[in-house]
């Protein structure tokens, strides 16, 4: 890779090219930069590939869930990765920090999802470093839309669909307001803001109704829950999902593996420690009958 030639100006023609390049890249567009460096962003599959998709077992399926709680957003994912009926990994990280105030929870094909998360992380950083300001909230949402839309051909061939939840904290929100934001994406890249909660992945159908019930009729509305209450609720929800969905794991007692839970608040992104999770998981269980 050599970008140097574009910045040198030994001849008039090259100088014009360099001026043009600077103009194009002044947008702080990382995807454009990767194209200039010949990075293969999109996989080019032949049309025959689609016919073979039945032969390929791609790791996918999941339950990820995000809820608005009193400090911001709490976002969690189970740890199981499956291919067909096989469990291939039980420590998958599906909740990925993108920058100081945003987190992506992924469901779908992990290879593409991790790549999307990585491109997203580097894009935000590149924008900040080149343009000398943070990318706006709307700009971040659009960048993720673009990546999902660019992945359409893979999704249509049945081997690379990615449906994420994107949680951010809006720092421009009033100090006294909750700046937590949860966005849900469809396979074409459209984004929708969810007010109280979002869930996706194969296990999500089992808990969506519970979430709706809790947010509407629960003793404490979810947005008023503190960190511990919200975490206990989420642990219970993932437990329910794992009961009914073979591709979702709950707490794995043999390996002492807990779901990943992160919080996105005004102070940044935080991961809830395994010690806290262990204590709260115990509390999340129904009390044994006397």
């Amino acid at each position: 890779m050599s970008l140097n030639g574009r910045y040198l100006n030994t001849t008039d023609a090259e100088h014009q090219e360099s001026a043009l390049y600077t103009l194009v890249n002044n947008r702080g567009d990382f995807l454009n930069l990767l194209e200039q460096a010949n990075y293969p962003l999109k996989m080019k599959l032949t049309s025959e590939t689609a016919q073979h998709d039945a032969d390929i077992e791609i790791a996918h399926s999941t339950t990820v869930v995000a809820v608005l709680y009193q400090d911001g957003v709490m976002i969690a994912g189970d740890r199981r990765a499956t291919a067909g009926t096989s469990v291939i990994y039980d420590r998958a990280e599906k909740v990925l920090q993108i920058d100081r105030h945003s987190v992506l929870a992924i469901s779908g094909s992990p290879a593409i999802a991790y790549e999307i998360a990585r491109v997203l992380e580097h894009s935000f950083q590149y924008f900040r470093r080149s343009q000398l300001q943070e990318l706006s909230l709307e700009g971040k949402l659009r960048m993720l839309s673009r990546l999902i839309r660019d992945n359409l051909s893979m999704a249509l061939q049945g081997i690379g669909a990615v449906i994420p939840i994107f949680a951010l904290y809006d720092l421009s929100a009033d100090e006294n307001d909750n700046g937590g934001k949860i966005f849900f994406y469809d396979g074409l890249g459209a984004h929708f803001e969810n007010v109280d909660f979002a869930t996706t992945g194969s296990g999500s159908i089992w808990i969506r109704g519970v979430l709706r019930y809790l947010s509407r009729f629960g003793d404490t509305p979810m947005h008023a829950m503190d960190q511990q209450q919200a975490a206990i609720t989420i642990l219970r929800l993932l437990d329910i999902a794992s009961e009914y969905d073979a591709a979702t794991s709950g707490y794995n007692a043999k390996g002492n593996i807990f779901p990943n839970i992160k919080t996105v608040t005004r102070t940044g992104v935080d991961t809830i420690s395994d010690d806290d999770l262990a204590a709260w998981y115990a509390e999340a269980q129904p009390k044994a009958e006397e």
């Binding site: 140097n4 030994t10 100088h15 990075y39 470093r129 080149s130 940044g268």
Partner: protein, 256 residues
Amino acid sequence: MRDEPYRWIEAIQDRRDYIEDQLRPGSPVVGITYNQGMMLLTIGRGQRKIFEVHDRIALSAIGHPADIERLRMLVTDTASVQGFQNATEDVNLHRLTNYVLAHTFKQAFESIVGEAYIIKMLLAELGSTPEKNLFTAINFDGIVRTDTKFAVIGGTEVIETGMQNYLANAPADADRDLTAALRLSLETWAVGKELSTREPEETDLEETQMDTTQMYKVVDTAREDGEIEAGVLETTLQGASKFRLLTSQEIEAALQ
């Protein structure tokens, strides 16, 4: 012109004189280490001069804003692409300096028919341990100086020597906190600024001994139409990106 060696050397010398004349009044930049990382400081007039390049690398420069911008983008783009294609840990200042920047500077300087870069650049890289911290200063002709403790760039060599002497006599950095680092940087900046106001023939280092009151007077004068700009690479910062600009409140607090 290349067929006539004498004229080529003469042209290079003219070019060097021209660039040095342009750089002389530039506001110097000071780079030092402190107990939580590294700091770059200058006093600017509106144009931002301290930048984040990558997770652990910061940049500042003196010279023409258009040249600074172009070369800043070169190194930022290169670091960003390399950090993505490989891993962010694979981006390092040694490679960026020697394989990307230095030869670009040299090539532009010696292509006497092309435009010259009017620039001196100072980069800092936060190491995994304090011993691995690295400063590199790149002159407009592509010559690189590296240091692990401190580095400065100023309009001329005399200015830089004066500032380096001041820093060399400063207390050891192990116990220097952010406030102490900020003050030391400002004092060093004042030494450089004072030297840059003198005519080249008047400059005599023996006569540039200033006490701290005089230094802060120079700083105060500069602040009338300028602003202190300081960026740090801070080991304690959460996440992979270690760069941040100091807030005006932090700077004011240190000056109290």
